[in-house]
């Protein structure tokens, strides 16, 4: 059974302009349709990569799945139970089972907490274990992320490097042995030469502790290294989803194709092909009807702009793309 199943997930933000704007006549309320009808599943032990540019909604999806934000519509089903109905003890169990690793190791740690307190905060807040067990597990986790416990337990964030802080963040998320971990660009603020270690750490821990992972990143190179499956989002919708090798070597959706082709390689002889897409990315405010990519798509035809969003269509084994013209484009 899938650990996480997301069906038709939608999140709209209402933007009501200020009083003066209303006075001047620009006062209509606008809607930011950050996430629109997103559906996907994560199997047990699977690492699903979520790629897309800024404004595509990937951070919003992270917040929705972890219930740090309430959806406007759609179902989030975790281990067979719908997430939005949870409260009380069931919500506590959910919190211990679904955790998140943040992007910024300089901002996601409370500067007043010692390393031990930072890692122990989750279990303490949820009242999971007694003091003795908390101590054992926290220290074990600290060692598990490669930080010698005796040396690090009493340190404060400002006394540690970015890499060390991120390890503490990972320890804090994993100490409760969650089943699903959402990793929101955990490497992007770290130096290049230490990223590999942290990536390896995540991979190892995922195998040892057996958790599934939704790994969000704009960097397809990193995703190609760690993810089993890849999901590409554009302006709130899922453009393509499938096994990583398939999506990267044979992308079917025009946006996914452009994204994959635009990834640079560390090779001076390699020149990226000019992407065949037009214009700049827009923001998902009051988007026009039809496919969100239609405005920039080199293959868009009238029906793409008018008809409602195309749903995900199978293009291979476990490989889906949301495009009306798939049959004609290959």
């Amino acid at each position: 059974m899938a650990v996480l199943e997301v069906r038709g997930l939608t999140k709209h933000f209402e933007v009501r302009p200020g009083f003066l704007s209303r006075l001047v006549g620009e006062g209509r309320a606008r809607t930011i349709k950050a996430v629109e009808d997103v559906s996907f599943a994560i199997a047990e032990g699977e690492i699903v990569g979520l790629a897309g540019e800024s404004g595509c909604g990937k951070s919003t999806v992270c917040l929705l799945i972890t219930r740090l934000l309430e959806p406007t519509a759609g179902d989030i089903v975790f281990n067979g139970t719908s997430v939005s109905t949870l409260h009380g003890d069931a919500l506590k169990t959910f919190r211990a089972s679904v955790q998140i690793i943040f992007q910024d190791p300089y901002e996601s740690l409370n500067p007043r907490f010692s390393v031990f307190d930072l890692i122990a905060e989750g279990p303490r807040a949820l009242g999971l274990w007694d003091a003795k067990e908390t101590e054992e597990r926290v220290l074990a986790m600290l060692a598990g992320v490669g930080l010698p416990p005796a040396e690090y337990r009493a340190r404060y964030p400002h006394e540690m490097s970015g890499g060390e802080r991120q390890r503490v963040g990972i320890a804090g998320a994993l100490v409760m042995e969650p089943q699903l971990v959402v990793a929101d660009e955990p490497l992007s603020m770290l130096d290049v030469s230490i990223r590999a270690d942290i990536l390896d750490l995540l991979r190892d821990l995922s195998q040892r502790l057996g958790f599934s992972c939704l790994y969000v990143s704009h960097d397809l190179s990193i995703l190609s290294n760690i993810a089993d499956r890849l999901m590409v989002m554009y302006l709130g919708m899922v453009a393509e989803i499938g096994p990583i090798a398939d999506v990267i070597t044979h992308p079917r959706h025009p946006y996914a194709t452009a994204l994959v082709e635009a990834v640079p390689a560390p090779d001076p002889r390699y020149r990226r092909p000019v992407p065949k897409i037009l214009g700049d990315i827009t923001r998902p405010i009051d988007p026009p009807p039809g496919c969100r990519f239609a405005g920039r798509c080199p293959h868009a035809i009238d029906i793409c702009r008018i008809d409602p969003l195309p749903g995900l269509v199978a293009v291979g084994k476990d490989h889906f793309a949301a495009c009306r013209r798939l049959g004609e484009l290959e």
Partner: protein
């Protein structure tokens, strides 16, 4: 046990912070001096506060300037000023401390809850704060005293009412800023309840600000108390430095008995300034840009 260790570390931290600022250190020493005098007053004061004294010739020692016998001089009714200063220190510091602490507790909580929850709670609390801002100190204390008589508790009540407001606004602003920080989101993700986030995560980060305003609040309370007592609204059972000035005023001797005027005034000014110096040390912590490189 853990709480005691944390407390000890907290206290040592504060001492270290204050010592870093020369002004703060001076302030702390002055405050310490007055507090010790206040605590040991029963042992240090040569006479009672209301004891009428006689001089060598057997007459009442009224309006004696400072001398070997009466270090700070005497009042119109022959009372030793030195002793009065010591006993009054107790009242002044007690009222200042209690009012200051109560007002910071109220102000901080109002600010924290207002800033964290926002929405209706914020609106209601801030509306309440605005109403209180409009209330004047003196008329309010006059009404209280007219209704309930002169007592220390009402002085404290009136002072708390005007002093808590500013700290509430400032704490609210800081809370609003901290609420957006990612470590607060991380705390929510880990399962922390709202209360836990407010007290365990946000409050420790505004501690320098809270301590700064505690010092300020105590300072303002002392000034308010001195003002109220000077105008005759103090508790007649408990003499304070402001009350001493009131007695001076009604005795009509304000132009002649310079010692009766000088010592209580200097004491009030020194104590309040000392508290402001201490708050300066915290300001440097709360705003690192003020620190000397």
């Amino acid at each position: 046990m853990n709480a005691l260790i944390a407390l000890r570390r907290g206290v040592l931290n504060q001492i270290a912070i204050i010592r870093q600022s020369p002004l703060g250190t001076v302030g702390a020493l002055i405050v310490l001096f007055f507090v010790i005098v206040a605590i040991l007053a029963p042992f240090l004061a040569p006479h009672g506060a209301w004891t009428t004294l006689k001089d060598a010739s057997g007459r009442i020692a009224t309006l004696q300037p400072p001398s070997a016998e009466f270090w700070l001089g005497t009042t119109f009714l022959g009372r030793d000023l030195l002793s009065q200063m010591m006993w009054a220190a107790r009242t002044t510091i007690f009222i200042g401390l209690v009012s200051g602490l109560i007002s910071i507790v109220i102000g901080a909580n109002v600010g924290l809850f207002s800033g964290y929850y926002g929405g209706r709670i914020d609106e209601v609390l801030m509306r309440f704060t605005d109403i209180v801002y409009g209330m004047p100190f003196l008329p309010f204390i006059i009404v209280l005293i007219a209704l309930f008589g002169r007592s220390q508790s009402f002085v404290i009540l009136a002072i708390v009412l005007i002093v808590w407001r500013t700290s509430a606004r400032v704490v609210r602003a800081q809370t609003l800023a901290l609420k957006q920080r990612q470590f607060v989101l991380a705390a929510r993700a880990r399962g922390c309840s709202d209360l836990r986030i407010i007290y365990r995560h946000i409050m420790p980060n505004i501690l320098p600000l809270l301590l700064l305003y505690t010092a300020f609040n105590i300072a303002w309370s002392i000034i308010a108390e001195a003002g109220a007592a000077f105008l005759g609204f103090g508790d007649p059972e408990h003499l304070s430095w402001g009350g001493m000035l009131y007695e001076l005023w009604i005795s009509g001797q304000i132009r002649t008995a310079w010692w009766w005027f000088a010592f209580p005034s200097v004491a009030i000014i020194s104590l309040v300034s000392a508290l402001v110096f201490i708050s300066r040390a915290y300001e440097e912590v709360a705003n690192p840009r003020l620190r000397q490189r």
